[in-house]
């Protein structure tokens, strides 16, 4: 049996999370060594409150100026309305069939006209494309997450496989040009899409809320990135341009 309290018990006493505070306090009342260690921990915690920088008097105005363009209209949660998601699943199936008839063209090579666009404009175009790509991905994933019968997952699986290819292209571009946060976002999405494209045909077992939350997270991050890029100094050389391979 230990004669003294361990450090973890003293730390948790200091944070108010120890399981039996009365027992700790009874021991501290009789043990000078533990009281000294408890006091030292208290001193460390009192000191360990990092200063926070003042964000400036214009913080609220600056925050809103960046935030507002990223908000967009509010959307209804489609998973709560079975009719809505069924309609969405149906439209996805149509889109999938159309996609087979008229496969999506690969990303176009830069034309002379596009080459003439300034770098900032190309950044915006890429971000718009990425955002649209993510919106398409979200629709597919939402529909897949609500599939309830073996055949319902198939259209979404096939579209997801197509989206994986686009996603890799965007991710490679972002990786090459050093857009670390964009790479993170696209990494996350790619894992989702790959999971879906490889899901067994008869398995509708995807957790709708978890999946929707993951997709939403990706969208939020891209919207923030978009707002940040739009706020970049236009004189600054662009670091992102679409991959051509």
């Amino acid at each position: 049996m230990s004669l003294h309290l361990d450090d973890d018990a003293l730390v948790l006493h200091a944070t108010g999370d120890v399981d039996d505070p009365a027992a700790v306090e009874a021991h501290l009342a009789t043990c000078a060594e533990c009281r000294e260690r408890r006091a030292e921990i208290g001193g460390v915690m009192a000191a360990a409150r990092p200063e926070v920088a003042d964000p400036g008097a214009d913080f609220e105005a600056r925050t809103w100026a960046r935030l507002q363009p990223a908000l967009g209209p509010r959307r209804l949660r489609t998973w709560k309305a079975p009719g809505a998601w069924l309609a969405l699943a149906a439209s996805l199936a149509v889109a999938f069939l159309l996609g087979r008839q008229f496969p999506q063209a690969p990303l176009p090579a830069p034309s002379p006209a596009s080459a003439a666009l300034d770098e900032a404009a190309r950044e915006r175009i890429l971000l718009t494309e990425v955002e649209e790509h993510l919106e398409r991905s979200q629709r597919v994933l939402v529909a897949a997450s609500h599939a309830q019968a073996p055949g319902e997952l198939e259209p979404a699986r096939a579209v997801a496989a197509d989206l994986v290819r686009d996603n890799r292209l965007y991710r490679q571009t972002a990786l090459r040009t050093g857009e670390a946060r964009l790479v993170d976002v696209l990494d996350e999405l790619e894992r989702l899409l790959v999971d879906l494209s490889k899901a067994p045909e008869d398995s509708p077992a995807t957790d709708a809320r978890a999946l929707q939350g993951r997709v939403d997270d990706v969208l939020f991050k891209v919207r923030v990135l978009g707002a940040r890029l739009r706020g970049r100094d236009p004189a600054r050389p662009a670091r992102v341009r679409p991959a051509t391979s």
Partner: protein
Amino acid sequence: MERMEVEDGELARARSGDHEAFRTLVDRHGRAVFALAFRITGNAHDAEDVVQETFVKAWRRLDEFEARSKFSSWIHRIAANAAYDLLRSRRRRHEDPLGTEGDDARPLASDTPSADRIVFGREVDSRVRAALHRLGPLERSSFLLRHVDGMSMREIADALGSDPNAVKQSVCRAVKKMREALRPALAGSHP
């Protein structure tokens, strides 16, 4: 009570798509979110990014907010998650999350105690920042959210996608490391 009712009205209007109502909420809670994010990320630039991400997420998820809980608690959980994600992402890429490479690269300050309280305060502050920098993302986030922001272990676990026991252990490890880093400076203050 009255303020909560006002906030309920703003939330209802924001849910229906009213940007101005949402702006009121952003104005009211933005600085607290910035402070939380600054402590975890360690610099103003990242903290402002976290503020952006937090409120974009909040806008998109207003339907998930349950009226019986406090909006400030909800928004802080979103911010904690965003800041933690950013910190983890930076650590994976071996970037410097605090923007204090010089502070961290140099050895901890001399063990010689200073008689000048200002110098002493600076020394402690420098050691605190260096020690925080050395903590892992879960240790740093858990410690600051519990110790400074007053979130419960359960709230922290929910916000960071962890479990309360892991958070508890992280807090203990963080304090242990902080203690080792600060011990010389604090011992010097009590000759």
